[in-house]
Symmetry: C2
Subunit: 212 residues, 2 copies
DNA sequence: TTTTTTCTGGTGTCATCGCTCCATAAATCC
DNA sequence: GGATTTATGGAGCGATGACACCAGAAAAAA
């Protein structure tokens, strides 16, 4: 085990890295986000990250290891809004309203690639990438489970009818978010995504005031 | 221009093909459907199709040309249910109800790959595949436009309120279908997809009886 | 300064990918 | 049957992908 490649601690003995690891990782994340795993070549990566092949290999181990790190970074940084909103202290309906509208905004930021890095990744891939596919699918499941948990709390709090099908409702909003991610990648505007979000909230259980 | 590689007419002059072109095309379609364009290699293709490299190249021209043919085949065969339902002579709400439930069934057939070949394809790809990405995106747009057209007829027929935002509603159901396609690829059951479809129909405009 | 430890650029390697060429086999037309 | 036309199998090609190695450079520790 190497001693974690000096995390800020900066007390290694030899020559220090000439590049910012975090920054390089972020650059890689954006590239993977935009082009997917297969669509991003080794050469693209080191060019974008501004480092040499050996530095790359030395600092990140392999393309696949870097992808894992990029996913983790995405989950804890760029995709953190989802879990943050699910932990909001608000009415359950409000939480999901915020969730869908935030998705519309986050999927169309002009400082980041469109859509979501996880939502649609590795749904079609070669048998050699089964591990990657499973990883991505598990992340999707995790997001959906988090939504289900929040819905369950909503039922307990009386925000939702007792008989509400938690799993189905979470799957519905999960589907909607993933569909919105595809739309975003196809170039849909933020306004269009907000309209989709608004209509999606019309499906919220039990009688609300409705309008179209 | 070669004379269309003898379509059934069987009146070419030289040695006849030893394989069924349509059947080989179908096999290729399934492989592309399952693994995507990048995830499907030349060798995978000719192995599955049961032909040699030169036969492949002779009969289909290139991997990309074959992909185009596979997409066309999908649209006119495996994905035909969508347009068929949109042309049904029924109440607009019924049409969309049928659409979403049919999607649940079609996305989980046990004789075909899960999900949809078009919905989620090439959303993340290398710059070299911009053409492919645009092609897929245009197919998605076409499906959504077809839904919008049907909704417009619904407004004209009085099935929907005059002020209905056609584009937004079509985008909503487009998103839902694409999300369902991802769920299907991740292994969601037909029942789960039907639940998603059912909830999606709760978002239908104007006061319907509602229950969860 | 010397030693030690680590980073860095450049080059090389091995596999795979999509594709092509060529000699040959198998049909049809005369 | 002979000529013509087309398909087939097999070998191989150039490009690219991901990775590995090595000699040298640079900084901390002694």
């Amino acid at each position: 085990m190497t001693p974690e490649k000096m995390h800020g601690g900066r007390r290694g003995r030899g020559r220090p890295q000439s590049f910012d690891r975090t920054q390089a990782l972020c650059a890689a994340m954006r590239l993977f986000w935009d082009r997917g795993y297969d669509g991003t070549s080794f050469d693209d990566l080191i060019a974008t990250m501004g480092i040499s092949a050996s530095s790359f290999y030395n600092a990140f181990g392999s393309k696949e290891a870097l992808y894992h790190e990029a996913i983790d970074t995405y989950m804890s940084v760029a995709g953190a809004w989802l879990f943050a909103i699910l932990n909001e202290d608000a009415d359950t309906r409000t939480v999901f309203q915020d969730l869908t509208t935030a998705a519309a905004s986050e999927f169309t930021r002009d400082d980041l690639p469109a859509g979501c890095m996880i939502s649609v990744a590795a749904t079609q891939c070669s048998p050699a990438q089964t591990r990657l596919r499973d990883l991505l699918a598990s992340h999707r499941t995790r997001s959906e489970d988090a939504m289900a948990d929040r819905l369950r709390k909503g039922v307990e709090a009386g925000d939702l009818p007792a008989g509400t099908d938690i799993g189905a409702l979470a799957a519905f909003y999960g589907s909607l978010l993933r569909g919105m991610a595809v739309q975003a990648r196809d170039g849909a505007s933020r306004e269009r995504l907000l309209e989709i979000a608004r209509i999606g909230m019309q499906a919220w259980p039990a009688g609300q005031a409705r309008s179209v």
